[in-house]
Symmetry: C2
Subunit: 339 residues, 2 copies
DNA sequence: GTTAGCACTCTCTCGTGTTGAGTGCTAAAA
DNA sequence: TTTTAGCACTCAACACGAGAGAGTGCTAAC
């Protein structure tokens, strides 16, 4: 592995590059960090680091910039975690916990905070439907052919739909169906709904059953798109790496493709804790000039969603990681408390 | 007013500038449009049009570009409406009307379509809460201290909230309260809710009443933000006027300020039909390099919302106006049909 | 192993022409 | 009186070249 001095040099270069976005030369390092050696020595180290793939050189008479491999080593072994001041932590917690927010609003607020803290785009994947547990099903007869269906799911989700039926139903009938449905569905998850169950429902409840099944299936497919969003996109335009508009457009377009974001955060949801995906490590080519830092959040002990940040590979990893972690923890606390 | 030839020249210049985004010279006009006069004559006309404020000259040896006043005259008196092909109209109607979409999804879909048709940012202001009429209020007791409140409002809105009460309520009690509330609220609008009514509710229903009032008030303030959104922001980056990133950032930031958008579309909602706001006519300085084309949409005969497009002042007004109008009509049809 | 010195490379900036599009003006033609 | 051809003039945009400056790699001495 890298010896102590190489690590120091690499870290100094990455710290400096993160700060200035300019290629870093040997003199700068010698001047700013007191390594006790001359620029020439540092040059030798830098040449080695380039040889082994941790650094790159835009052109022969420029300084070095970190490669993806360099950043990877940095986040795994070199960086020192950023400590938010007591003040900042309190402010964040206050903004999220104090206000009387609905869960959806809280997630939006978290996104706003995260994007503000990191000057990057924040991504939030709201609790995914298929892990939700049916808690209560309620049919209310508003008119003879107009029925309001309310699904209460755990955690913290309520879905409604107004449906129109062909034949008329009496309030008593509806109330019966409501009870029977409740018995059938209570306690199972969206994901556990099977074809057999759908058929049973259609068999048992006729027209209403069919509409209901459609509703549920549709809900599964449709609402996925709505449960992910990106906030603070304008931030990336202020980053020097996106001075070239073409690149920015590519990112913006990617951000509007919900399915892509969904997959990206979806995979992150499988492992817990803070995940970092750097540049080319990302499967999606549009994102390969960016890094993504994500963290899962919880209701009680269940992972229900993911939130994170998208920024240039030259992002302030220590700060971003801390911010993502802090916000995820606070959101978990909030959601669990209100459960 | 302007004589016939001046109008022809002005129109030719604006058409050309909309297409190419380049200042238009007298030769170009003479060549492309057969006005039967020489460039020199056109030059004289152009000088007059500049004098009277319809045109501007970026610098002395460049062609002319339209001023805001020029665009205003163009949209009011010169442009010929764009006709979408039968095919296009059918496709749009199909995408919106055929699919089994919830109203919210339909509005999102409309936004996507609009942004695609116009290569601009589309804005959608969803039905504003305070005009909604209470249709049904439903309280369901999920646990002794956990009550699900469902408000069904006309048109096409359902709101839910899970509330926790300090003391326990029996299902019968809840059912009573539910009935009494329904009697009280049915048929009135959010806007008609008065302080007296709030006090009555708190008096009649104690703790639940208070929570309910909080809920309604909070709902009014909170959900405003959620009922407006912008789609297709990446489109503006492809416009040559935003080659300069600074300008683009200003627009992006404005687009993230929901309140600003809300006010902007809110004023447009007061008049019916297609509204056009050009450049400096806009009250909000961040938007003064843009034009906004909006149209109200309906449920039955009631204006319930506004949708539109934001783009550079050099937008293709004939096409944008037609697109906004078409989509607004189709959305109205859709919402009215499903009412 | 470290470092000073030096030749070398390459980007960036600045000034200088040069080109070309487009104008306004004048005087002649219609 | 209106239109037009002709012409001088202006100015952005582009290309070119010189020079500065930052930074490197190599070599030889410490």
């Amino acid at each position: 592995m890298l010896d102590e001095r190489k690590r120091l040099v690499l870290r100094a270069i990455i710290d400096s590059y993160i700060e200035t976005a300019e290629p870093v030369g040997s003199r700068t390092i010698a001047r700013k960090h007191d390594l006790g050696v001359s620029p020439a020595t540092i040059r030798n180290e830098m040449a080695d680091l380039e040889e082994t793939g941790y650094l790159e050189q835009p052109h022969v008479s420029a300084g070095r910039i970190p490669s993806d491999k360099g950043y990877r080593f940095y986040v795994d072994a070199l960086m020192e975690p950023h400590r938010f001041s007591q003040n900042e932590v309190e402010r964040i917690e206050k903004e999220l916990l104090d206000a009387q927010l609905t869960p959806e609003r809280a997630l939006h607020e978290a996104a706003r905070l995260l994007s503000m803290l990191t000057d990057s785009v924040s991504l939030v994947l709201a609790p995914s439907t298929d892990q939700l547990v049916f808690k209560h099903v309620q049919l209310v007869c508003l008119e003879p052919t107009g029925i309001l269906v309310t699904l209460v799911l755990h955690p913290m989700t309520v879905k409604n739909r107004l449906i129109r039926t062909k034949r008329e139903y009496s309030p008593e009938e509806i109330s019966e169906i409501s009870k029977a449905l409740n018995k059938k569905l209570k306690g199972i998850t969206y994901r556990q709904l099977s074809v057999t169950m759908f058929n049973e429902i259609i068999g048992d409840f006729g027209e209403i059953g069919r509409v209901l099944v459609e509703l549920v299936l549709q809900g599964l497919a449709e609402e996925k798109e709505e449960q992910i969003y990106a906030t603070g996109a304008s931030n990336i335009l202020t980053q020097p790496e996106f001075r070239d508009v073409q690149r920015a457009v590519a990112i913006f377009e990617a951000l509007e493709q919900k399915e892509l974001l969904l997959k990206m955060l979806g995979t992150a949801a499988k492992s817990s804790g803070v995940q970092i995906v750097i540049g080319q490590e990302n499967t999606y080519s549009a994102m390969q000039s960016c890094s993504v830092v994500t963290c899962t959040y919880y209701v009680g002990n269940d992972v229900v969603g993911t939130l994170g940040v998208l920024g240039p590979t030259r992002m302030d990893y220590p700060k971003v990681v801390s911010a993502v972690n802090l916000v995820a923890q606070t959101v978990s606390l909030l959601l669990t408390r209100d459960k």
